[in-house]
């Protein structure tokens, strides 16, 4: 059993969640090229390491939330928004 920590409900069995995929910043709709849109919609980085992801807690609070998860160890942590903004710069 893999435990995932929901920011609202605390640690829960991962079967209570639905994976929403990697989350990246959305390109500007009026400025993005078709290639950029295709990349945004269909391509994932799929790193071996820390990945920023969206999850949906369907069997609990029914909220979407974002976490960082290490794809090798399944260690995960709440997102430090300031650090995330710095990483995007």
């Amino acid at each position: 059993m893999m435990l995932l920590t929901c920011p609202w409900c605390g640690p829960r069995n991962s079967t209570e969640f639905r994976f929403g995929g990697e989350s990246h910043p959305r390109p500007r709709p009026d400025a993005a090229t078709p290639e950029e849109w295709r990349d945004y919609l269909y391509f994932a980085t799929n790193p071996r390491g820390w990945s920023r992801e969206t999850w949906y807690h369907g069997s609990g609070c029914r909220r979407y939330f974002a976490i960082e998860r290490h794809t090798e160890t399944n260690e995960h942590r709440a997102i430090d928004e300031r650090r995330a903004a710095e990483a995007r710069r």
């Binding site: 609202w8 609990g60 029914r62």
Partner: protein
């Protein structure tokens, strides 16, 4: 020829039915209920006739303050709801910005109106929906209930995590269920005089899954000698 739009003088009053099949059915407060009475140490009762009204409002606004409980907690009250002579209500913080108000059978229109009036005064954007006939509700009662629930629910039910008055939503027998720990302090509780009640949990799910959850709990409770009883409130 009689006019089909004219009500027949002796037309039977409509009877509400729970999704859970009753034992020895009789009608009480307009609902078909079980006439079963059990004194077993572990019992399950269909509490679907209780009024169930859902409120959605900002997580930490004025309405949240009026309702008096936050996400993850349940409490009897609030005084503002009882001011109009309404029976006691159990307010459950069932989700972030989401509440469930439980009250005596037949009171749902009054509870809904009272909540709407309460909310109108705050000016916040909120919704009040009567879910009475759309959900199923049951009560487990007995000291073995946490051991029994542990077979079908992965949450740690110890006092430190789920104490009396705690509420959460999780998977029970693979079904999304709202659980409220609401211990019983009635005369039948051995420890009532000492101030500690009998372990009890309310379980709330979609109406269409009510019979499934009831049967799954009866199955899980068989080894503890679980028995079906009528409404605990009425018996108390």
């Amino acid at each position: 020829m009689s006019d089909p739009n004219t009500p027949t003088p002796n037309a039977p009053t409509p009877i509400a039915r729970s999704p859970i099949a009753p034992i020895n059915p009789r009608v009480e407060n307009g609902w078909e209920v079980s006439d079963a009475r059990s004194t077993a140490a572990l019992t399950i009762a269909d509490e679907t006739p209780l009024a169930k009204v859902a409120v959605r409002a900002p997580f930490a606004g004025a309405i949240a303050g009026l309702l008096g409980v936050g996400f993850g907690r349940a409490a009897r009250g609030p005084a503002s709801l009882q001011a109009d002579g309404l029976p006691e209500a159990l307010v459950v913080g069932s989700g972030p910005g989401e509440w469930l108000v439980l009250a005596a059978p037949g009171t749902s229109p009054a509870v809904r109106q009272r909540l709407e009036a309460l909310i109108a005064g705050t000016g916040e954007f909120a919704s009040v929906v009567d879910l009475t006939h759309g959900r199923a509700l049951m009560r487990l009662r007995g000291e073995d209930s946490p051991a029994m629930l542990a077979k079908v629910c992965a949450i740690d039910l110890s006092d430190d995590v789920v104490g009396n008055g705690a509420a959460f939503r999780s998977s029970v027998a693979r079904l999304v269920t709202d659980i409220v720990r609401d211990d019983c302090f009635d005369a039948r509780s051995a420890g009532a005089a000492r101030g500690d009640g009998v372990r009890s949990y309310l379980l709330h799910c979609e109406r269409s899954s009510g019979q499934y959850l009831f049967d799954a709990l009866l199955d899980a409770g068989a080894e503890f000698g679980i028995e079906v009883t009528g409404s605990v409130r009425a018996a108390g």
